[in-house]
């Protein structure tokens, strides 16, 4: 009977060993595109969609005849919402699978985790999510919004249109909200808002019981001055937060909440009836009526096979990033990272929301900013937008240490954060 157990165990071991050798075999006649998004764990909820949209874009490109006469091949891995695993998987994609470019990451920490890998191996990452800025790596293109493309326009809007005088900055306790709030605090103070009219509150990830904090917001809002909440609450915590807001009867007409991490995808999990009028600031809304967007949405629905699926801002970011990369590769005539990088600068792709996105030499995009109000069907309807595009800042002007720094990867700077040019 022991023999049986042993045979089983050995069989299991050898099965795994065979797995390794077959995994290593690879074909060389395709261009490999790595997709580094969590498909399990806490971040799967947001990132899986991005994996799907990448598969759609790659599929689409292949139907158009691929790139440089070769087919594109998507290499999907699951970093499982585990940050060190992101680094491991990034290395696997580049070293083992030989990907020419990687599209991936959602959280800042996952990007921070893979950054040294991309820099060491001189590979290329497209990062599609709005983030805190304060970074410009030679090997990363940031296609999401920087704080000056989201937070500042939103606050300006509230000040102007809603005459907001008192501010609650509520966020999840991690670097993106901290940075955004730091920038906003200094911006508001510069605009003459006294310190007692700013309330800053941080909550842990996945915070589920918002009763006390919503009550605090109500209390803060009853000081006779128009009050607004700037929410950098992240991910899962938003649903219970908005449910509590709705149930405690905080109406957008009285205390509007403007969010930077809540898009159509997050709202899909909430009955938005009581939330009508609360705001979101992004570079993209699904409801924006342009031919490009209509085409994108129909393509997405056809690809995913579900008419109810929504589109959101990071999906547009991947769309723009992927198009730019394709154009840059075509221009450079190679997938060589250094050549493609040079070709990326000044690359133009029409936004889904109208206008044209441009890749700047600080690796951030120029994009329009739109502010929208939540509707009862879970869509966000534009109430305000910038006239033209806004240039993404790698370094905020409202943080003294970073205001000095410049990010510019072309001659004579060639630097992600310097006070003077390298050459």
């Amino acid at each position: 009977m022991f023999g049986f157990g042993r045979a089983k165990a050995l069989a299991a071991v050898s099965a795994l060993a065979i797995g390794l050798t077959t995994g290593a075999a690879q074909a060389a006649d395709t261009i490999k595109v790595g997709i580094l998004h969590s498909l399990s764990g806490t971040m799967a909820i947001s990132e899986t969609t991005l994996k799907d949209v990448m598969l759609m874009l790659i599929d689409d490109q292949n139907k158009k005849g691929g790139l440089l006469g070769k087919q594109l091949e998507a290499v999907v891995v699951d970093p499982a919402s585990n940050w060190p695993l992101f680094a491991e998987k990034a290395r696997e994609l580049i070293e083992v699978n030989g990907t020419s470019v990687v599209f991936g990451c959602w959280t800042s920490v996952s990007r921070k985790s893979v950054l040294p890998v991309f820099e060491e191996l001189n590979s290329m990452l497209f990062y599609p999510v709005q983030y805190e800025g304060e970074e410009s790596s030679r090997n990363v293109f940031y296609t999401g919004a920087a704080p000056n493309q989201q937070a500042i326009p939103a606050v300006d809007y509230l000040m102007k249109t809603e005459s907001v005088k008192r501010w609650v900055l509520a966020g999840t306790d991690y670097v993106y909200p901290r940075t955004t709030n730091k920038i906003l605090e200094s911006y508001l103070k510069a605009k003459g808002v006294p310190a007692e009219d700013i309330m800053i509150n941080y909550t842990p990830f996945g915070h589920a019981d918002w009763q006390t904090i919503v009550a605090d917001i109500k209390k803060f809002g009853s000081a006779g001055k128009k009050t607004a909440v700037v929410s950098t609450i992240n991910g899962d915590a938003n649903v219970p937060f908005y449910k509590e807001l709705g149930n405690q009867g905080i109406k957008a007409e009285d205390i509007p909440v403007v969010a930077f991490s809540v898009g159509e995808e997050e709202l899909a999990g909430i009955d938005t009836g009581p939330l009508v009028g609360h705001l979101a600031a992004w570079n993209y809304f699904m409801s924006i009526d342009t031919p490009e967007n209509d085409a994108f949405i129909s393509k997405w629905h056809a690809f995913i096979g579900n008419e109810d699926r929504v589109t959101n801002d990071p999906m547009e970011a991947h769309y723009i990033g992927f198009k730019m990369w394709v154009q840059a590769v075509q221009q450079a005539g190679t997938t060589d990272v250094d050549a493609v990088r040079q070709a990326m600068y000044g690359q133009k792709v029409p936004n889904l929301t109208g206008g044209v996105a441009v890749m700047n030499t600080n690796h951030h995009l120029s994009k329009p900013v739109v502010i929208g109000e939540i509707q009862d069907d879970g869509q966000i309807q534009t109430v305000w937008s910038t006239d033209g595009v806004v240039v993404g800042d790698a370094w905020s002007d409202f943080i003294p240490e970073s205001a000095k720094l410049t990010a510019d990867w072309t001659f004579p700077w060639v630097c992600g954060g310097c006070e003077k040019p390298m050459y």
Partner: protein, 535 residues
């Protein structure tokens, strides 16, 4: 209001075309609502409100609800109604059916928050004299929230005509709020302030604190008095509010933990898949609501009542399945059940992710679960109230099952002395399966409740599993009273620490307190003493 006056002045100076309209031409005014210029739109709304024409209520209400559309072909304004295919367009004033158009042929007239406020005021003043007392009460509420000196006169008329005591008071308060912002004399304002101070509450406080700087000294002094008295009342209520929050958090913990008190507490299975049972319950609610939405939208109010037994069955039968296929081989090896159920939880999570997709699913709150009731200065949200009730009812029913039914008796017999119970003819394996199924089923019912306040995603269960274990261990296993007291004391402790220490530190402190408490009472709050537990 100042902004609105300012807009009016600017509009007057610049002679915007909107003003050129004849105030008596209601249909013409309605057509002017079709604009992207919110300042102009607001102006039009005010003009419409000033007509006092009750026919204007329907289009304005439609605008506020997002049901006012314009036809793309000729920009004409209609009230839209969803039809089986496309959209029905109705005449904005008469409500008569005009035609059915394709979904993309008519577009919604978008509004913003400023517009919503303006509409609230306009609708308020238009409906003050409505024959329906509910509408009148709502109108008074709206005007209180959007005070407007222009409405003082209308309010005066309404007050004079109002028979209902409560509505009249509300109207008087709304009038007082408007007076504060008007240029009335000081004496009138001070009376208004007193009326607001008597009303109390955060809204009144906000109004008094927001007194314009132009107010005279006596008015300011009166307002300060009012603020003081309201704040004193609020401070008293805040303790009560905190206790309520604590109880409400406790009931969530209780809900999440009761099932575990059976599978872990009674059976000794370290059930790491407990959270997934909760999650399955929440998904059952989602599926029930989806079916209702697609087939019988009228039944939506009953969706939860339908979901509760179904969730019990779904999670319960999956529980039985897990017990039959995995756990029954592991009795007496508590720590190994942890490993196996951990594996099971991974599988269930991924299964749900594969079937339903990784994104959040929308589970709606039926009307009785939405909104809040105001008890003094406490806001009690309905969903929390029902969860408290639900948790207690489930606990009570479970106790009845354990104490009064043959299954409960057999269950206790098997947990106390398996061999003896078997010898007496109890089919222990069946009892085991049913017990595990019962615990899992209750977890599924908890999922229905939690779907009302939290995300419905594959990760739902993970966020409750640790708290559930803490509650059961803190209360003492094998004891449902312990679970009850444990859940509520942890909930209340958490909520009392939160204002001082913040949400994170508060939680850390509670965890540390549990660790220290277990040192004092290694077997929890309500542990059995003596020799029986040693074995």
């Amino acid at each position: 209001m100042i902004a609105r006056l300012l807009a009016l002045m600017i509009a007057l100076c610049c002679g915007l075309p909107a003003l050129a309209a004849d105030p008596d031409d209601l249909p013409g005014l309605i057509e002017q609502l079709q604009t992207r210029d919110y300042a102009a739109m607001e102006q039009t709304v005010n003009t419409i409100a000033a007509t006092g024409d009750p026919r204007a209520v329907a289009p304005l209400q439609a605008l506020a609800d997002g049901d006012l559309y314009y036809r793309k072909s000729d920009d004409k304004v209609f009230i839209a109604r969803k039809a089986d295919s496309g959209t029905d367009l109705l005449d904005p004033l008469t409500g008569e059916f005009v035609e059915n158009v394709g979904r993309r042929d008519a577009r919604k007239i978008g509004i913003n928050n400023g517009m919503r406020r303006a509409l609230r005021g306009a609708l308020g003043s238009l409906t003050l004299l409505s024959p329906d007392p509910k509408v009148r009460a709502a109108a008074a509420q709206s005007l209180f929230k959007s005070p407007d000196p222009g409405a003082i006169e209308a309010l005066g008329q309404a007050i004079a005509a109002e028979k209902d005591e409560a509505i009249r008071t509300a109207m008087e308060e709304a009038q007082a709020a408007s007076i504060l912002l008007s240029d009335s004399d000081d004496a009138t304002k001070i009376v208004a302030i007193q009326s607001l101070a008597d009303r109390g509450g955060r809204d009144a406080l906000s109004l008094l604190k927001g007194l314009p700087d132009s107010a005279t000294e006596p008015v300011k002094a009166a307002a300060l008095e009012g603020v003081k008295s309201i704040e004193a009342a609020l401070a008293l209520w805040s303790t009560a509010q905190n206790i309520y929050y604590g109880i409400s958090l406790g009931s969530v913990l209780l809900m999440a933990a009761i099932g575990l008190a059976i599978t872990f507490g009674v059976m000794g299975v370290i059930n790491m898949a407990h959270g997934e049972m909760v999650m399955l319950g929440a998904y059952t609610t989602y599926v029930v609501q989806e079916i209702i939405r697609n087939n019988a939208p009228g039944m939506f109010e009953f969706s939860l009542a339908i979901a509760v037994p179904l969730a019990f069955l779904v999670s319960g039968s999956i529980g039985v399945l897990i017990e039959r296929t995995v756990i029954r081989y592991l009795y007496g090896r508590a720590l190994e059940t942890l490993l196996a159920t951990w594996g099971v939880s991974l599988i269930i999570q991924q299964l749900v992710r594969t079937i339903f997709g990784p994104t959040n699913k929308e589970v709606g709150n039926p009307d009785f679960m939405s909104g809040a009731v105001q008890l003094g200065e406490m806001t009690l949200t309905y969903n929390r109230i029902w969860i408290i009730v639900f948790a207690l009812v489930v606990l009570a029913m479970l106790m009845l099952v354990l104490k009064r039914t043959p299954l409960g008796l057999q269950m206790r017999a098997v947990t106390q002395n398996r061999r003896m119970a078997g010898a007496m003819g109890i089919r222990t394996d069946r009892v085991d399966a049913l017990t595990f199924g019962l615990g899992s089923g209750i977890a599924g019912m908890a999922g229905v409740a939690l779907s009302q306040i939290d995300n419905v995603s594959p990760n739902l269960g993970q966020s409750y599993i640790i708290d559930s274990f803490m509650v059961v261990v803190f209360g003492g296993v094998c004891n449902l009273w312990g679970t009850l007291v444990g859940a509520f004391s942890l909930g209340i402790a958490n909520k009392f620490l939160e204002p001082y220490a913040g949400a994170v530190l508060g939680k850390i402190l509670v965890l540390v307190a549990i660790i220290l408490f277990i040192q004092k009472r290694p077997r929890g709050l309500f542990a059995l003493k003596g020799r029986a537990v040693e074995s």
